[in-house]
C-alpha cells in the first residue's frame, strides 16, 4: 500500500463532503432530504461545462454552475411548496415533478448545446477533463473546507438559521410567530441548491461529466450524514474516513469483492452508529423519567 491510497480517498471524499453538506443543510433546517438536490448536482456540473465551452472562461463557468444549482434549488422549493407540502408528503411529489422537469431540461440543453457548439469556434477541450490531478485536488480541497467553514458561520451567526430550524420543526407554529415559512424554505433551498451545484462542479472536475452524476454518491452521502450524527464539525473527517475504508478494501481484496467488503464495512459502521444513538436516546429517556419521578 502507498500514499496514493490516501490521495485517492481524499479526492473521493471532497465530492462526498460537499454533497453531504447540501443534504445536511436541507435536513437540519427543513427536515427533508429530496432527490431534487441530486439533480442540482448534475445541473451545476453541466452548467459549468457548457459555460466554459461557450466562453472559455473558467471563472464565468464556475459561476454559471453555481447559478444553475441555485436556480434548480429554487425550482425544487417552489414545487415542494406547491405540490409537496400541501399534500403532506414531505416534498416527495414536488421532488419527483421537479426531477422529471429538470431531466427533460438537461436533455434539451445537452442536445441543443452540442448542436450550438458546432458553430462556436474554437471549442478546444472540455475544461472538466483538462484539469490535472494536483490542480483539481487543491481546488476541491479549498472549496470543500471553505464551504464547511462558511456553513458553520452561517449556522452560528445568521438569524435565518434559527428561523429555518423553527420552520422545519413546526410549520404551522412558525406561521403563528409571524415568520414567513415559504420565504425561509425558498432561501434554504437556494442555499442547498447552490452547494449541490458546487458539488456537481467538483465531482465533474474529478471524474468527468456524465448524466448520472450525483446518483453515484447519494447513498454514501446519506451514510456520512448518519455516521456524523448531523454534526457538521465532523462532516469532512467522516467523508474522508468512509472513502479511505472503501479505497483500502478495494486495494486489499481482489476484484469486486474489495468493493463489496468496503461497502459492507460502511453499512456496518452506519448500523452501529444508529444503534448507538438509539441506546443513547433510550438512556436519556430513562434518566429524564427518573428525574421526573424524583420531582
Amino acid at each position: 500500500m502507498n500514499y496514493q491510497i490516501f490521495l485517492n480517498a481524499l479526492a473521493t471524499s471532497i465530492g462526498y463532503s460537499v454533497f453531504s453538506l447540501a443534504l445536511y443543510g436541507q435536513f437540519t433546517y427543513l427536515r427533508m432530504i429530496s432527490i431534487s438536490l441530486v439533480t442540482s448536482v448534475i445541473a451545476g456540473a453541466y452548467g459549468c461545462n457548457y459555460a466554459y465551452l461557450m466562453t472559455n472562461n473558467p471563472t464565468i463557468s464556475i459561476l454559471c454552475g453555481v447559478i444553475c444549482g441555485i436556480i434548480l434549488g429554487f425550482c425544487g422549493a417552489f414545487l415542494h411548496i406547491k405540490i409537496g407540502r400541501e399534500k403532506e408528503v414531505m416534498g416527495l411529489l414536488g421532488s419527483f415533478g421537479y426531477f422529471v422537469i429538470i431531466q427533460g431540461l438537461i436533455t434539451i440543453i445537452t442536445g441543443g448545446g452540442i448542436e450550438a457548439f458546432k458553430f462556436i469556434p474554437p471549442v478546444s477541450s472540455n475544461m472538466l477533463c483538462s484539469f490535472t490531478y494536483p490542480e483539481w485536488l487543491l481546488f476541491g480541497l479549498i472549496i470543500s473546507v471553505l464551504l464547511n467553514v462558511l456553513y458553520i458561520i452561517f449556522q452560528k451567526f445568521f438569524s435565518l438559521s434559527t428561523k429555518a430550524i423553527a420552520t422545519g420543526d413546526n410549520y404551522e407554529l412558525s406561521k403563528l410567530l409571524n415568520l414567513n415559512p415559504r420565504k425561509i424554505e425558498i432561501n434554504i433551498q437556494l442555499l442547498c441548491g447552490g452547494i449541490a451545484g458546487i458539488s456537481g462542479i467538483i465531482i465533474a472536475f474529478d471524474k468527468g461529466l456524465h448524466p448520472d452524476l450525483g446518483y453515484d454518491i447519494i447513498l454514501k452521502a446519506f451514510a456520512i450524514l448518519i455516521v456524523t450524527g448531523l454534526n457538521i464539525y465532523l462532516l469532512f473527517f467522516w467523508s474522508f474516513f468512509l472513502a479511505l475504508i472503501e479505497s483500502i478494501a478495494t486495494y486489499l481484496f481482489d476484484g469486486q469483492i474489495g468493493q463489496a467488503v468496503g461497502l459492507s464495512i460502511v453499512v456496518l459502521i452506519v448500523l452501529i452508529t444508529i444503534l448507538n444513538k438509539n441506546i443513547q436516546i433510550s438512556r436519556m429517556k430513562v434518566k429524564l423519567k427518573e428525574q421526573v419521578l424524583s420531582v
Binding site: 491510497i5 448520472d212 453515484d216 478495494t250 486495494y251 469486486q256
Partner: protein, 373 residues
C-alpha cells in the same frame, strides 16, 4: 348509455389500430427488420444512427439496381434502447407483427444473447453488426454476426504485447460480457506464452472512480496495462491511470473509437494503442474505400463504429437470396457457408458458429485522432 358508447369507441379504436399496424406483406417488397438502439444510455443513439444510415445506403444502392431478385428492400426499425428486455420485445414484434424473415441487430451483446431464444422460437434470422461477446458464438443456428467476436481482439492484443517484449501486463476490465471476454482471452493467451498477468482487476459498470484499481495495477510493477470498459469507465480509467503514471504503455480495445472516451480522458488518451474491427480511411482499400466515399457523399460525415458491418449485413442477405431465393431456411443455411466475402469491413468468412472471422486492426490515438499504428 354514454359510458357504453365510450367503451365501444375505445375498443373499436384499439382494434383498428392493431389491424392497421400489422404490416401487410407486399410481393414486390422484401422487408428487413432493424432492431438497434436509437435512444438510451450515452452513446446508444450513435450506434443506432450509424447502423441505420449504413443499412439505408446499402438498401438504396440495391434498390436502384433492381432490388433483390426483383423485390425492393424495405427497412422497418425498432428502438431497443440498449436494454435487453426492450430488445426482446422489438425482435418479437418484428417477427410476429411485421413478420420479417431477417432482423439486423442488436448492438449490446447482452441484448443479442437475450434475443437468441426469441429468434430460435420464431425461426427468424438475426444478424448482429455490433455484438462482439464470445458468448454469442454458436448460441443459435439463427444468429449470425458480421463483426468478429471479442476473443479475436484479446488474442491479437496478447500477440502484439508478446512481440513487443512486455513480460508483465496488468489488466483492469469492467464487469460486463462485452469487456470481460477480451480480458479473459488476453490473460489465457498471455499465460500460454509463459508471460505474466500480475493483476487482473475488475471495475463495476458505471463506476467513475477507478483510482484505487489503477494504484493496484501500478503496484504490481507491470511493463504495460490493458484497460477495457465502456466509454465512461474506459475514459475514467485512462485518465486516472495517467494521474499516477505518465510512462507505462496503455492498451485497449474497440471502445477507444468512441469520442466520449477521448473527451473524458483528455490528453491522457494520447498514445493509447487499441484493436478494432472498424476499418479506417487510412487502412481502407477496394470495397472498403468505395464504401467510405459513398457514405461521405450521402451523409457528409465519415462512417462511424459498426457502419461498415451493418452495410455488409445487407449485402450478405442479398448475396444469399440471389443464390438460393427467398426461402428462410435456405438463406440461413447459405449464410453459414459464406466464404471470403469482399465487404466494406474487409474480406471475411462466416464460420460454423455464425461469426465473422475478420482480424482486428491496430490503431493509436495521436493528437486526439485515431490513426493506423
Amino acid at each position: 348509455m354514454k359510458l357504453h358508447f365510450n367503451i365501444i369507441s375505445i375498443v373499436i379504436l384499439i382494434l383498428s389500430t392493431l389491424f392497421f399496424s400489422c404490416t401487410k406483406k407486399s410481393s414486390d417488397e422484401y422487408i428487413i427488420g432493424v432492431a438497434v438502439p436509437f435512444s438510451g444510455q450515452e452513446g446508444a443513439a450513435t450506434y443506432g444512427k450509424n447502423i441505420k444510415q449504413a443499412c439505408e445506403l446499402a438498401a438504396d444502392e440495391i434498390n436502384k439496381t433492381g432490388g433483390i431478385s426483383g423485390r425492393k428492400i424495405k427497412l422497418v426499425y425498432e428502438d431497443t434502447k440498449l436494454i435487453p428486455s426492450i430488445s426482446v420485445d422489438a425482435v418479437t414484434k418484428l417477427s410476429t407483427v411485421d413478420r420479417v424473415d431477417i432482423i439486423i441487430g442488436d448492438v449490446a451483446s447482452s441484448s443479442t444473447i437475450a434475443c437468441s431464444k426469441v429468434v430460435e422460437q420464431y425461426k427468424t434470422i438475426l444478424i448482429s453488426p455490433a455484438s462482439t461477446s464470445h458468448e454469442i458464438s454458436g448460441i443459435s443456428k439463427y444468429v449470425f454476426r458480421t463483426i468478429a467476436p471479442d476473443t479475436y481482439e484479446g488474442e491479437a492484443m496478447a500477440e502484439f504485447c508478446k512481440n513487443k517484449g512486455y513480460r508483465k501486463v496488468a489488466i483492469c476490465y469492467v464487469d460486463n460480457a462485452g469487456t470481460k471476454g477480451p480480458a479473459l482471452i488476453f490473460k489465457k493467451k498471455y499465460e500460454e506464452f509463459g508471460l505474466e498477468v500480475p493483476t487482473f482487476e475488475v471495475l463495476s459498470q458505471g463506476s467513475t472512480d477507478a483510482r484505487t484499481q489503477m494504484t493496484k495495477l501500478i503496484s504490481s510493477k507491470p511493463d504495460a496495462v490493458y484497460l477495457l470498459g465502456y466509454a465512461l469507465e474506459l475514459g475514467t480509467m485512462i485518465k486516472q491511470f495517467r494521474e499516477q503514471d505518465k510512462l507505462l504503455p496503455i492498451f485497449s480495445f474497440q471502445v477507444m473509437e468512441e469520442p466520449k472516451v477521448r473527451e473524458i480522458a483528455g490528453l491522457s488518451a494520447e498514445g493509447v494503442i487499441f484493436t478494432t474491427p472498424t476499418i479506417y480511411e487510412d487502412l481502407a482499400s477496394g470495397k472498403s474505400r468505395n464504401f467510405i466515399e459513398k457514405y461521405k457523399a450521402v451523409y457528409t460525415d465519415p462512417p462511424g463504429i459498426f457502419s461498415a458491418n451493418a452495410y455488409d449485413a445487407i449485402y450478405i442477405i442479398k448475396y444469399c437470396i440471389d443464390k438460393v431465393g427467398f426461402d428462410k431456411e435456405k438463406i440461413r443455411s447459405e449464410l453459414s457457408q459464406i466464404s471470403n466475402f469482399e465487404g466494406a469491413s474487409g474480406n471475411f468468412s462466416i464460420n460454423k458458429n455464425g461469426d465473422s472471422d475478420q482480424k482486428p486492426f491496430l490503431m493509436i490515438v495521436r493528437e486526439g485522432k485515431i490513426v493506423k499504428y
